[in-house]
Symmetry: none
Subunit: 219 residues, 2 copies
Amino acid sequence: MRILLIEDDRVIGTAVREQIEADGHSVDWAMRLDTAADALAGAKFDLLLLDLMLPDGRGIPFLKSLRAKGSTTPVIILTALDQISDRIEGLNAGADDYLVKPFDLAELSARIGSVARRYAGNPNPVLSLGDLTIDQAARRVEREGKAVALTAREWVLFEAFLQNPAQLLSKAKLEERLYSYDAEIESNTIEVHISRLRKKLGADVITTERGMGYRLGRS
Amino acid sequence: MRILLIEDDRVIGTAVREQIEADGHSVDWAMRLDTAADALAGAKFDLLLLDLMLPDGRGIPFLKSLRAKGSTTPVIILTALDQISDRIEGLNAGADDYLVKPFDLAELSARIGSVARRYAGNPNPVLSLGDLTIDQAARRVEREGKAVALTAREWVLFEAFLQNPAQLLSKAKLEERLYSYDAEIESNTIEVHISRLRKKLGADVITTERGMGYRLGRS
DNA sequence: ACAAAGCTGACAGCTTGCTGAACGGTGTGA
DNA sequence: TCACACCGTTCAGCAAGCTGTCAGCTTTGT
């Protein structure tokens, strides 16, 4: 397995690298987000280990933008004990697991193993929704047996509904999901994407609740 | 959320139960594997907290047989520091997370929250009111099991009552809530909205107190 | 029984959302 | 390197349904 380690602390980084290599994986080590981005552009990784505090930015927006671009690479977050909110936000942003520093190296091995296993052999859990079949892990949607191609933004949006079934999601919430932070957007981008999703997936997949937001499901 | 705690140590068990209940979840506590199995047979749980050393057996085989039966209920393992190999085996057996004793109770809350989020089943506290079921976080109301569609204004109004149960709310107070301040409205808007709410939710959801205002609940 | 307070059906205006079209940016293949 | 395809955003005109108003009716308290 090829693993990208993004971590600016030399002591931790060295220990992690040695452990992973001892487990028989290969490691690339980036100490900044920009070099990490370069590495990702240049090669395909099976797993990312992502520290949240880096010299040139925070890990969460990085992860969000990665997911927005359509990456499905599993991510394990490495974080300090006092960053609970970050960890939760990290899981929301699309991380698969997290480890709290200081962590035991055997734990790291176990987590890597279980994430890898989750993505490897076992067939993905498939969701049914009306005439739709959804494989979340593979980012694949079929309608009446035929594959539907969703763009990156469309998928991020749709995924938000899948992960919050029956919840009302305001446009603000959805924007927050599409755009890492900031985003005081005065446009109807969300509406347009919703429109396209409905066109591809069927009109009644997403319900409008006027003045409040959107919800997965009919009526 | 309904949680099954499987733990034979009374001190730890009590602390865990209190923490979880403080977080607003309900807890069933089994001190042996056989009573845990009974509990699982009799009710549906959203999460299992599983100690690995119990008087009538070890937790790992228990977890394995649970998974073999097809259960997908999330499981968090509670384990002592010196049982690293067990923890690794636990993740392999299908656990979702683990905590090392002695653990911080805030850490427990965070892990429960994130596991729950990952499974995103029905994490919201649900309120019952006569034949109504209300999920405030999801902005969802059901009457006799069927979803009721509230408009934005109607929801704001209804929410005011939910957040001030048994309180008398004057029309002025309610107007203030609907319209950001100012609002020198010389009409019966509130009455109209109350009327519409009663039509959708049932006549006795909101009581009129003549000359004073409205109150949640019958008579 | 009377007056005051509250209720509710109808309706028009207006906010909100929908969607086709066009534009600009980015990446891709020849 | 250039042309092309694709994606995301913006805009404008249109459609839909929410919301406030009002009038006439019902209820309540005295």
